[in-house]
Symmetry: C2
Subunit: 412 residues, 2 copies
């Protein structure tokens, strides 16, 4: 008799975006005329076309596959050398961070990496997540059996939640208790907060002292414009011995539908066997790639490589400028109302505190009904998100301007 993985039944999440869709559908059925004017500001998906340098590179790669002489079959599971080198050189070594080509693992996206990384860790680790948080960190730990059940707030027993609040500027304090794996994400989804060098240094120092490992999600690093804010955890001395970094081409090159990201796993990184022997993690992650993955589509890897060319870089800067321009327009509008507004600088997300007495879903309903704008209720990202909502800058300029205009019309 085959047995199921019971842990899946503990999962509470996965209701956020379906519930948003349900409420929008109900509103649209009730008010079909108003529904025609809906402006989406909820989703973290890019809207602008791919950089031309990427398009051209993908076309060339597809053509290579059309001829026997240039055809390529299975590639290296960890990514082609040309892309691993381009990433290590441009994102790290050029910025003074010592990362070797073979410390880069090219994948089909950061979401997959954030979940798959758990494969190489034991079940006995104490796991800390920021709250609010990208739900994938929590859900993949629930599925792996690393938690107990969820309480009414949606908090799972056994996880250590690190509250990100207005009081701490949405950058969590170092925990007093011991934790072994720590998920951090800066610029943060959903709060749009960034961590300073000093704040990251405190985390690296904690991890080194406790032999913990930081799982650092830098998917939004391209949105950092302040030169004082680090783009990578490896900008902090010691991070090579305590941190794994996840990055993505989704939000710089617009690859959400093209699918490419990467993990950086330094060869110096170690963790303990259950008998207490230190072992390097690099061979384990390498083995996972060889055994459970077969590399990213060749034309996609050529597209990602093109992001690092001079024209690619210029086109990516324009894309980022477009979304950051939206963020400014939206944040300015929200700031001009009675609401308290966070993020939206160095980040594509704006995090807004609902007026006193409003729950996240009440705000969602009011904004939908009053001005036909769709936002994301903060509670969907964790208990600490209650009373907040997220506004996404991933939009056309026209939509961003229209949403900005309408936000001023809400009477709270």
């Amino acid at each position: 008799m085959a047995y199921i993985n019971d842990h899946y039944f503990k999962l509470k999440g996965g209701y956020l975006f379906p519930e948003i869709a349900r409420r929008v559908r109900a509103f649209s059925a009730e008010h079909p005329e108003l529904a025609k004017t809906l402006v989406p500001c909820g989703i973290g998906d890019v809207t602008e076309p791919l950089p031309i340098a990427v398009i051209q590179a993908m076309h060339r790669a597809v053509d290579e596959l059309a001829h026997r002489e240039s055809f390529r079959g299975y590639g290296p599971e960890q990514g082609y050398d040309f892309l691993r080198r381009a990433i290590a050189e441009n994102d790290y070594r050029r910025n003074g961070m010592d990362i070797a080509d073979d410390e880069i693992f090219v994948s089909d996206g950061s979401k997959c990496d954030c979940g798959n990384i758990l494969d190489i860790f034991g079940d006995q680790n104490r796991i800390a997540v920021v709250d609010p948080v990208y739900p994938v960190y929590v859900d993949t730990n629930v599925m792996a059996g690393h938690t107990g059940s969820a309480d009414e707030l949606g908090n799972y027993a056994g996880l250590v939640y690190l509250p990100c609040t207005k009081a701490n500027g949405f950058v969590p304090e170092i925990p007093k208790e011991r934790v072994d794996l720590i998920y951090l994400c800066f610029p943060n989804n959903p709060t749009g907060s960034v961590a300073t060098r000093e704040q990251l240094k405190a985390w690296v120092d904690y991890a080194l002292e406790n032999e913990a490992i930081i799982l650092y999600d830098a998917a939004y690093e391209a949105y950092i414009t302040d030169p004082a804010i680090p783009h990578s955890i490896y900008a902090i001395p010691g991070a090579h011995d305590c941190a794994i970094e996840f990055r993505s081409f989704s939000k710089n090159g617009g690859f959400t539908g093209v699918r490419c990201g990467f993990t950086v796993l330094p060869k110096s990184l170690t963790a303990l066997t259950s008998k207490g022997n230190k072992k390097n993690l690099h061979p384990l992650w390498n083995r996972r790639f060889s055994t459970k993955f077969n590399g990213v589509s060749y034309p996609v890897q050529r597209g990602a490589e093109a992001i690092y060319t001079e024209t690619g870089q210029e086109q990516v800067r324009n894309l980022i400028g477009h979304y950051l321009g939206n963020a400014e327009i939206l944040a300015d509008s929200l700031c001009s109302t009675s609401l308290e507004v966070f993020g939206g600088r160095n980040a594509p997300y704006i995090w807004v505190m609902a007026p006193s007495g409003y729950s996240s879903w009440q705000v969602f309903d009011k904004i939908l009904r009053d001005i036909q704008v769709v936002i994301t209720p903060g509670t969907g990202f964790g208990a600490q998100g209650e009373g907040y909502f997220r506004v996404s800058a991933f939009n056309s300029r026209e939509n961003a301007r229209e949403a900005a205009r309408r936000f001023k019309e809400v009477r709270w």
Copy 2:
């Protein structure tokens, strides 16, 4: 202190292809002139370019991503409707098998699916694998902690091995003991054997009776030319209640570097919770896709869709015909020697028994040294592979003819 997943240290495998490469390098250094004439017959990777229908569809999809109006970001994690429908309709419903569109899960390859499927099963299952076998089934179970250590032959404690031998025609007998998850692969890699309808029916009956689940790898189904041999486990009544099928575009459309495959998981399929309650597996696999995956690259999905067009089908038939033609040339040559030859019909692999007294690696060395052809030693696929070697038909016609000519020259 972060802990590692210790189970990785039990892994014995992963040495096969590196060891082949090492021996080829050593030979080449010793005999640089002979090395220039090496003919590879070892690797299961396609050599011929993609079908033109696929190339054209991928170009069109890349162009869509170049314009705001036709740009697509995140797609459905489980695959676009257009592809799920094309698969379900053409591979299943058209052939009388009742598979719904949403029972198809589009992935970036069958190798990933074969490993990832374990996520939704409990750790208490008794697992059976055929021997010899595609190493991924075994290795992913080792990594998930479902086995003990390996013995000298490479057999892991706790797994049930189903010997595939000359005596049973390389189709395993139904086990006498109870097993819960059963990996089957037909046409088989490495033996090239196929299972008849009666043989598959015996397995389905066993699974239904024991409430076991068959994990059916049909990656090579396109090579079946005998109309009596089933292409799918779902051709057997009852399989919808006891089988998951894996398929791939790698070996029909030549997608080894493009990356696309799919899983079929019928909604009627159930397994038990640890408390013994029956639950459907479909929502769990669906949830896994939503949480740990973000869909296959859009241009790749359009390329896969093109395989099902009339021109795509014709071009795929030509590709399959090419490789099956190679298989015939190679098998004919080997049959004309003193060796015993299996497979190579309805399959792209030929499985050859080494002359008495030769180990797999001794045969490998002799063929390399005598005629400069690279084959794969059978022992790399499991203990029962000892004394055999695999010849792959994935080659240019020129290479296949040359290898065939040389096989006749070996003096055993």
